[in-house]
């Protein structure tokens, strides 16, 4: 067994896992689904680490494996749940996947900007985003805690996502060499 290879693989797995997760969630925008697929993908990657060629881009390789899991997942989901969730059709998904992989560097840069943009939110706004995305509580529970109707919370989160998106865009554009 090539121990150096294994070590290299482990490092790349750890550092690249957030990008693989993002890729999956971009194709399947539901968190629970994405996590299930991510877990399956992680297992497959660990089983197949010996096949990994260190010369190759790890994230691309891992996303290829993730994509297969996405396809299987959606197929099974449609069989079992008969359209309980809405997924993009396979050809659109393929095109989105390509765009996402090609823009990988930009997306990484945006992720860094997200961090700063989150810090710019008011405390209460940030807390709301954190609660909503932590996934510990249902949205109507969070709404109740904050004395809001679920609809108002829904709209608030939408506004917050929008302002985060705008902030990221500004920040990335500002950092652009002229």
């Amino acid at each position: 067994m090539d121990k150096h290879h294994h070590q290299q693989f482990a490092e790349r797995f750890v550092t690249g896992s957030n990008r693989v997760f993002r890729y999956i969630l971009t194709l399947v925008p539901n968190r629970d689904d994405a996590e299930e697929i991510f877990q399956q993908t992680a297992l497959t990657l660990w089983k197949r680490w010996e096949e990994y060629d260190p010369q190759r881009d790890f994230v691309r390789w891992a996303c290829g494996i993730a994509h297969n899991h996405v396809r299987n997942f959606i197929r099974t989901a449609y069989q079992q749940r008969q359209g309980a969730r809405v997924y993009l059709s396979e050809d659109v998904m393929q095109r989105v996947a390509e765009t996402s992989l090609n823009a990988a560097d930009t997306l990484e840069e945006r992720r860094t900007a997200l961090r700063h943009c989150l810090a710019k939110l008011q405390d209460s706004q940030r807390e709301m985003i954190e609660l909503a995305y932590a996934g510990e509580q249902k949205l109507n529970e969070i709404a109740e805690q904050h004395g809001m109707t679920p609809n108002a919370l829904y709209k608030t989160l939408r506004r917050l996502r929008r302002s985060l998106y705008d902030c990221i865009r500004q920040s990335v554009t500002a950092g652009e060499p002229a």
């Binding site: 550092t15 539901n30 299930e36 823009a103 807390e127 829904y154 060499p177």
Partner: protein, 537 residues
């Protein structure tokens, strides 16, 4: 930085609406069809989609992980991830107090970990003392440090090497200083000229000279006799000076001691108080003068902060909710727990809890020299140890969320204030992380083999002891992580991870158990030495 595709125009409101509804789980079939049309028609639309849903994904990842995901692999791979510790021998030899303490710790490790017993012979002179008791047949202490020590020939250990085991008996120093680790865990440092005797593994007599005692929990009840006093320690740090006339003064630097001077002259002293029997029949009370012991304390074992979670007093939670204190404490061979532990996640409703550290100018970190220019912990040139117990109870459905302890700096914000996370990162069952904003490091279960060994500590539902050593340096700091270490010096066992990708300061700790996972934390200690945070058996 060219050829980076990004959108120059605003996305249409319709596209924004559809994509956001998709993220919110609120898109119907008609909406999906329309979205597919738009995505099929334009690369710009697809890029907006990738950016917006990518942000949605990053938010999920970030909240699950409890911290911002790491920066690109290129930087992390240069982090010195799996380097084993520098050989200890290469770091011994200078006469600084630091290296003296390293020798001390090495000696302790030799005696305690390897089980090596070096029987010392004493050249005992005639002793006329009513305090001398029958010596037990086994060594009761270890000589853990000797700096410029000139021993009185008649009262010296035959081998004055650090690491030598010491029997009960009388010792005398003409000058310099010596330090001994008693069997129950008390550490005494004596400055010559001094004459003293260790009678058993938790009792000493000081005839004259200066002595500083650090008494960890395991050695509470440590007793020091002077010609006029009996001083019983209640878990603390105190100094005693006995002059040539046999008069004593006691200075309590931490905790509490009870003093009995006979004839119903008793006193209970708290940190900051002092007492002496130098004049008259009464005990004279005063203020403790730590400066009298500055030559010793500079390198002592000190617990600077500890959290036992016997109650919820000092705990703050993020997002509301009351922290849950379990009546049961965690237990681990090297760390004695008090009642109570902090439970998070699972059904408690609280997933993030914070404790604040006293970084004020009068606080313990300032007194020990750990406060950096920014007013938080991390002064360059210092070394700090943090230990804690934890038990992870991962969600049976997969345990995707992160579980672990973090250092936070100047705020509670998950995105901006978390320089270090240690635990099970999100989504990874077997591998655990030590994570900094600039890179991730895998924790290797068995650092004695070259490969990265999967770690059971994440999934075995057992209690584990974690120890983090931080060497604050100019530039990036060096962080070493130990999982269930053996007793003794960290230089003797390989760390399970080494992190050199962060230049950090901090002022609070965060405990987390996210996404349905549960975790129990207990016995958090921050101290100046390994021994301060891992008191041992």
């Amino acid at each position: 930085m060219t050829d980076r595709p990004h959108i120059h125009g605003e996305p249409s409101e319709e596209l924004f609406d559809l994509v956001d509804r998709l993220c919110a789980g609120d898109l119907d079939d008609a909406g999906r069809q329309r979205l597919e049309q738009l995505l099929n028609a334009s690369e710009q639309a697809r890029l907006f989609y990738a950016e917006y849903v990518g942000m949605h994904a990053d938010l999920h990842w970030r909240m699950r992980a409890g911290i911002m995901p790491a920066i690109p692999a290129e930087t992390a791979s240069a982090s010195g991830t799996y380097a084993l510790d520098t050989p200890v021998a290469g770091r011994i030899g200078s006469s600084t107090s630091k290296s003296a303490w390293r020798r001390w710790a090495i000696a302790a490790a030799v005696a305690l970990v390897a089980g090596v017993t070096l029987v010392a012979q004493f050249n005992r002179g005639p002793v006329a003392s009513d305090t001398e008791l029958a010596a037990p047949p086994t060594p009761i202490a270890t000589l853990t440090d000797a700096v410029d020590a000139v021993w009185d020939d008649a009262q010296a250990p035959t081998t004055a090497d650090v690491g030598t085991s010491l029997d009960a008996g009388r010792m005398a120093l003409r000058s310099g200083r010596a330090q001994m680790l008693l069997g129950r865990g008390a550490v005494i440092t004596v400055v010559g000229p001094a004459d003293w005797q260790m009678t058993d593994d938790n009792t000493c007599t000081l005839r004259h000279g200066k002595l500083l005692a650090y008494v960890p929990h395991s050695a509470a009840g440590f007793t020091l006799h002077t010609p006029g006093m009996k001083i019983v320690d209640r878990g603390t740090r105190f100094g005693v000076i006995v002059d040539e006339n046999g008069k004593s003064e006691v200075h309590v630097l931490e905790g509490r001691v009870d003093v009995d001077a006979g004839d119903d002259r008793r006193a209970s002293l708290h940190a900051g108080q002092a007492i002496d029997d130098r004049t008259g029949d009464k005990l004279n009370e005063g203020f403790a003068d730590g400066a009298r012991f500055a030559d010793i304390t500079a390198s002592g074992d000190q617990v600077l902060a500890s959290f036992k979670f016997d109650d919820a007093g000092s705990i703050r939670t993020l997002g509301g909710g009351q922290p849950t204190i379990d009546a049961d404490s965690l237990t681990q061979p090297l760390v004695r727990s008090s009642a109570g532990s902090l439970r998070l996640g699972g059904t408690t409703g609280v997933t993030n809890a914070f404790v604040d550290l006293d970084v004020s100018r009068s606080g313990p970190f300032a007194a020990a020299g750990y406060i950096a220019g920014n007013g938080r912990i991390g002064a360059t040139g210092t070394t700090l140890y943090i230990s804690w117990l934890s038990r992870f109870e991962l969600h049976p459905g997969g345990g995707l969320g992160s579980v672990g302890l973090s250092l936070f700096d100047a705020g509670d914000d998950l995105a901006a204030n978390e320089p270090l996370f240690v635990g099970k990162a999100s989504a990874l069952q077997q591998l655990s992380h030590a994570r900094t904003p600039d890179g991730d490091v895998v924790i290797d279960a068995d650092p004695s083999t070259p490969e990265i060994d999967a770690i059971d500590a994440m999934t075995d539902r057992a209690t584990h002891l974690w120890v983090v050593r931080i060497d604050f340096r100019s530039g990036n700091d060096r962080i070493q992580l130990y999982l269930d270490p053996a007793e003794g010096d960290p230089g003797h066992v390989s760390p399970n991870a080494v992190i050199e990708s962060a230049d950090l300061t901090f002022d609070r700790l965060r405990f987390a158990a996210n996404a349905g996972n549960g975790a129990v934390y207990d016995e958090v200690r921050i101290g100046t030495t390994w021994r301060a945070v891992v008191p041992g058996r």
